[in-house]
């Protein structure tokens, strides 16, 4: 995923006006560019994520992928479908990385129908495999927002109230073919506290605006591929839990990994319980994780026990989602003119050139915009604070 998306030949691409990107904004006011506004929004996100909010850590997310005719458009390379599926694979990985005790399911919609690609499950491998397979599918007809939302709702409505129920729609088409009034469905979704977010691939569609506004989700339209990825990554973070959602204690199992050596005569190779729902040939393995309640064997975590329904996780998984709960506090923004002191960024050691600089409230070190974003989005801790901690 790190490589540049392969570029098509110039003549295959659409009509572009590359010179306009370079245009200087002389008036400085009349044409505040959209990028500027976007940057502000980015900064804002850092602020928004702070403070002690209760997060819905246990997520049940359905991703609806539009596979209608419009997905064959070439504005994302090589086409929208391939690009989306690729990004989805990455998203699924990240998602489980950050939300180890959550589940995901994938629905595709085309030809006025919706079908489940994968059911709600906590195992990334299955989803990635399904996504890989879906690349070859053809895109035909119109999508149906109603049918796909309805399908997702049928499953989600049985989920317990303490979980965060979410639907993420990747919507490429500008039209939807619905069998019934979608506003009724939106009401139903709202009643079930299912949060629907939409990422539009072409333009703002009214019904999506309403859908997301009513259900408390977010609605974004991509500008290009990198923006698409950015928007997808926003959904990796767990959303704040609605205040009305219940709190409850959940039983979890922390199975130990038992490794039996080949030399041990007592050890017999056995099947993992997770083969039950996979179509592939079951494999015999020696070691594995054993459910502390019923002793069922699993080769991978996290998983929900097939026998007793206990959620099995490992401690590092839980620890990984820790930083969501105690995020790094936002740095203070000051304009460059009023800042006095050394003019280089603490992190990258580059010269401070942007309009404003950012100061860590704890260690009073300054950072540039890029490093500020990097620290908050990826590192989740201030590098200079860490250093002082160690030295002291």
């Amino acid at each position: 995923m790190d490589e540049e998306p392969e570029r098509a030949k110039r003549w295959e691409g659409g009509y572009e006006r590359t010179w306009e990107v370079l245009k200087e904004d002389e008036s400085g006011s009349l044409k505040a560019t959209v990028e500027d506004i976007l940057f502000q929004a980015k900064r804002k996100r850092v602020f928004e994520s702070h403070g002690q909010v209760r997060l819905g850590m246990m997520r049940h997310l359905f991703v609806i992928i539009d596979s209608s005719r419009s997905m064959e458009d070439h504005d994302l390379k090589p086409n929208r479908l391939t690009s989306t599926l690729k990004l989805m694979e990455y998203f699924v990985e990240e998602y489980f990385d950050q939300n180890p005790i959550s589940q995901i399911g994938i629905i595709t919609t085309k030809n006025k129908r919706a079908e489940k690609l994968t059911d709600l499950a906590g195992n990334p491998k299955k989803h990635t495999a399904a996504l890989k397979k879906a690349v070859d599918s053809t895109c035909v007809g119109e999508p149906s927002l109603y049918n796909s939302l309805n399908l997702a709702m049928q499953t989600l409505k049985h989920m317990p109230a303490h979980t965060s129920k979410e639907i993420l729609v990747v919507f490429s088409s500008l039209t939807t073919c619905d069998p019934a009034n979608i506003y009724e469905l939106i009401k139903a979704l709202n009643g079930l506290k299912i949060r629907v977010s939409v990422i539009g691939l072409s333009a703002e569609v009214r019904v999506c605006t309403i859908l997301t506004r009513e259900t408390g989700g977010s609605y974004n339209v991509i500008l290009d591929e990198s923006h698409f990825k950015e928007l997808l990554m926003l959904h990796v973070k767990p959303p704040p839990a609605s205040s009305s959602s219940e709190c409850s204690l959940i039983r979890m199992g922390f199975p130990q990994h038992v490794i039996a050596s080949m030399s041990d005569q007592d050890a017999k190779p056995s099947f993992s319980m997770s083969h039950l729902d996979s179509a592939g040939e079951p494999e015999l393995t020696l070691g594995g994780y054993y459910c502390p309640q019923c002793r069922a064997k699993y080769t991978e975590l996290p998983v929900e026990c097939k026998v007793c329904g206990l959620t099995l996780v490992s401690a590092p998984h839980l620890a990984r989602s820790f930083h969501h709960l105690f995020p790094l506090e936002a740095f203070q923004e000051t304009p460059l003119e009023s800042y006095e002191g050394e003019r280089f960024c603490e992190a990258c050691q580059g010269e401070l050139k942007d309009k404003s600089v950012f100061t860590c409230l704890a260690c009073k070190k300054v950072f540039c915009v890029e490093c500020d974003l990097f620290i908050h989005d990826t590192l989740h801790c201030c590098p200079s604070c860490m250093q002082t901690d160690r030295t002291s």
Binding site: G14, R206, V207
Partner: protein, 778 residues
């Protein structure tokens, strides 16, 4: 002249200024203005500055500001503040708008604006109350405005009331009696009154709301009504004649004001009118002979009154308090009705002759065009009718109807129309033309003779308004080019200015598409409009746009016929089928009910995500009054340049007149007219700063400087050289890019300081400098 009145009188408002709960206090050039919002747009400030200048100079103004930037509220708050500061300089604001929804919009703004106000309403509804007093009329269908008028007249006419005194069994309208007895002495409590409020008020007090409103206009601070009350001489005489000279008159949405003026002075006579008129004359004759037997004294009395002359009207005139009526020009009042039509029988005989003459004129087989003097000469030679009695025709008929005590005047519309025509044709020798067409151009085999008595000079109807009121403001979203309005309306404005829209993001994207992907020029030019390639390219453009534009697209064609042709060939080429995969298609037709149905379904399709295309016609109902806010219109496509039908004889005569009288070249006027309609059409999509939309001009002729230069400044500003003469795929790419940009989240904070100002921001130096650039003096 009561008929028509209830057709046109729409809304009147009355405001007393006190208890203002307003948020922003602005200092506009030394005047304290209350503004009801927390924030103000820079262009509103600039607009108010110009307006203030106009009022200070006691002159007229022409101001163009894009729709959705708060014209109405700026106008109201400034003029009201002015009224408050200089109560002797400006006594009244008369706000004229064009359609009922627009008037209601203004009304709502006034509600926001002021807490404490007065009166009034829809006179049709007002009449409803009127009738509840008379049981057998209570279910009269309100649809027939004329009938309502007639019935009302039959209950309130002065002779009916006189009869009532002697004979109490004669029915009269209790509501009117009540009002007449006390209504004029009792002041109306301050407040805002719209239709329903007035109706309620009338019901509570037992007063006729119609007469109450007419009386209350005199005392109101703000009056909101339709253009016709000021411009149409037949109604203006009744409704607006007592408005004080120190009023400020505002014509909003005035880009079509010249047409309104012309319509109010023009008369069309068909064979059917003449036939109905014939029956009217016969009725009159019978009534006269009957009355002669029973009550000859009455006719004698009328005769002697006519000998005395129209003294009363003359007295009123001298005080300069009445609006001069174009149908009654100055000289007519100093003379008595000529002897030849003074007696009732003579007059009826005279009308008969006149009618026969008109019938003979309509019996032709070729088109005749002549001036008023020619017509008069001809009528004198053929049937010996002089100019002078013709001029008194309308007045004489009125007097006769009154004398004969014909209460129900609804049936007499035909003869009234003919008498208006007689008076107009003999009064004005310039600015009018008579065209007699034996058949319509499109159906040359069906004989359907029409006599058009057509006014060519809009300044005739509007002249009394300009002459009488100290300040007249003409304003609209599309008035470009600004210099043409003062010329065709023949007045001298003190301020002529155009304002742009300050935007935090470029929310409008005008594109001129000149070629198809095959490089064939796209144009609706007469020679090429039937060309297969052009039609296909237009189809492709719509198809491509339907794939990238979300929700609603509105497409405008130049005429119904052209639209029908194009849609038919799209169907044959299978383009329609492809379009329907992306969006539903709705079509505007000439039938109003069908169109409103289509419109409703169109909006539903936009709402629920199916997406829709509305095919409509420039100059049609959709292009004039209906807004396509937000998702109802994400793109407007204008197929071709909407030139008016140039073969029409009326238009030709008007063009000739404009050239001779005002030195406006035919081509200039045609282009101006086409461009104002094009601007009106594309302007439907942008109704505010948070709205966004594509504006696609699909004709290569738009790229020429003479067309482009006539677009309003706020559109021209965003029309860069790079967006001229594009091909379809370039348009698609630009459109896609634009729509993605616009779909990014946009909050109010992003606008603050740029296109939305707080008081502090407004007062800063450099902002004031920027504001000075917004207005462009023409």
């Amino acid at each position: 002249m009561i008929p028509k009145l209830c057709y046109f009188l729409k809304l009147l408002v009355f405001i007393i200024l006190n208890n203002l709960i307003l948020k922003l206090k602005l200092n506009i050039d030394g005047l304290l203005v209350y503004f009801p919002y927390d924030y103000i747009y820079p262009e509103q400030y600039s607009y108010m500055l110009e307006l203030k200048r106009t009022l200070d100079a006691k002159g007229h103004g022409v101001l163009e500001m894009p729709s959705g930037t708060g014209k109405t509220i700026s106008l109201l708050s400034l003029i009201v503040a002015y009224q408050k500061a200089y109560p002797l300089e400006v006594t009244k604001l008369v706000y004229c708008s064009r359609t009922v929804p627009e008037i209601e919009k203004v009304f709502n703004i006034i509600y926001i604006f002021i807490t404490h106000c007065i009166i009034n309403s829809y006179f049709k509804i007002a009449f409803q109350i009127h009738f509840s007093s008379v049981k057998y009329l209570s279910f009269l269908a309100l649809r027939f405005g004329k009938e309502v008028d007639g019935k009302c007249h039959s209950l309130t006419a002065s002779y009916i009331r006189a009869q009532h005194h002697s004979n109490p069994s004669q029915p009269v309208c209790q509501f009117y009696e009540e009002f007449d007895a006390v209504g004029r002495q009792v002041p109306i409590p301050p407040g805002i009154y719209n239709l329903d409020d007035l109706k309620d008020f009338g019901r509570r007090k037992g007063w006729c709301p119609y007469f109450l409103a007419r009386y209350a206009i005199l005392h109101a601070n703000i009056v909101v009504y339709s253009y016709h009350y000021l411009l149409d001489p037949k109604i203006a005489d009744l409704v607006s004649k007592e408005l004080a000279k120190k009023s400020v008159v505002v014509f909003d949405e005035a880009h079509n004001i010249d047409n309104v003026c012309i319509d109010s002075m023009s008369v069309n006579i068909t064979r059917r009118t003449l036939d109905r008129c014939q029956t009217n004359v016969e009725t009159l004759q019978n009534t006269i002979s009957r009355i002669k037997e029973t009550d000859a004294a009455k006719l004698r009395e009328e005769y002697s009154r006519l000998v005395e002359g129209l003294k009363e009207a003359n007295v009123a005139r001298e005080t300069d308090m009445y609006l001069s009526n174009p149908v009654l020009p100055d000289e007519i009042l100093q003379e008595a009705v000529p002897g030849s039509i003074r007696t009732a029988e003579h007059f009826v005989g005279f009308m008969k002759r006149f009618l026969e003459y008109l019938k003979a004129r309509l019996r032709i087989h070729h088109v005749v065009q002549e001036s008023a003097p020619q017509f008069l000469k001809d009528i004198y030679e053929k049937v010996c009718i002089d100019r002078k009695p013709l001029r008194f025709c309308a007045e004489r008929l009125r007097s006769l109807l009154r004398t004969l005590e014909i209460a129900d005047i609804a049936d007499f519309s035909a003869i009234t129309l003919i008498s208006h025509f007689a008076t107009l044709v003999s009064t004005y020798s310039k600015g009018f033309t008579i065209i007699i067409e034996p058949f319509e151009d499109r159906t040359p085999t069906i004989a359907n003779p029409v006599l058009h008595f057509s006014c060519m000079d809009p300044s005739i109807a509007i002249k009394p308004v300009f002459g009488r009121f100290q300040s007249v403001i003409i304003t609209s979203g599309t008035l470009s080019p600004l210099d043409i309005y003062p010329r065709i309306l023949d007045f001298r404005p003190v301020t002529v200015a155009s304002f742009t829209m300050t935007l935090a993001r470029t929310c409008l994207c005008p594109l001129i598409v000149g070629r198809g992907n095959d490089q064939v020029a796209m144009t609706s030019k007469f020679e090429t409009r039937e060309d297969f390639a052009v039609i296909r390219n237009y189809g492709n453009l719509l198809l491509e746009m339907s794939a990238i534009v979300p929700d609603g697209i509105v497409a405008f064609f130049t005429s119904y016929i052209y639209m029908e042709n194009i849609v038919a060939s799209w169907y044959e080429q299978g383009i329609l089928e492809n379009i329907q995969r992306n969006k539903l298609i709705f079509i505007e037709t000439q039938d109003a009910a069908e169109t409103s149905m289509a419109l409703e379904k169109y909006q539903e399709a936009c709402e629920n995500g199916r997406g829709a295309i509305l095919l409509s016609v420039a100059r049609g109902k959709v292009s004039e009054g209906i807004d396509f806010v937000h998702h109802y219109g994400r793109a407007v496509i204008m197929f071709g340049v909407p030139y008016v039908y140039t073969q029409s004889r009326i238009l030709k005569a008007r063009l000739e007149y404009l050239r001779d009288q005002f030195q406006i070249r035919e081509n200039d006027f045609l282009t101006f007219d086409a461009m104002r309609h094009a601007a009106q059409c594309v302007g439907r999509a942008i109704r505010g700063k948070t709205d966004y939309g594509l504006m696609i001009f699909a004709d290569k002729r738009y790229a020429r400087a003479d067309k482009r230069g006539k677009l309003p400044r706020w559109i021209q500003e965003h029309l860069t050289d790079g967006s001229l003469n594009l091909t379809i795929d370039e348009t698609v790419q630009l459109g896609k890019h634009f729509l993605r940009q616009m779909a990014q989240p946009f909050r109010q904070e992003d606008q603050l300081g740029l296109s939305l100002l707080t008081l502090e921001q407004l007062q800063s130096e450099d902002m004031l400098q920027k504001i000075a650039q917004i207005a462009q003096q023409a």
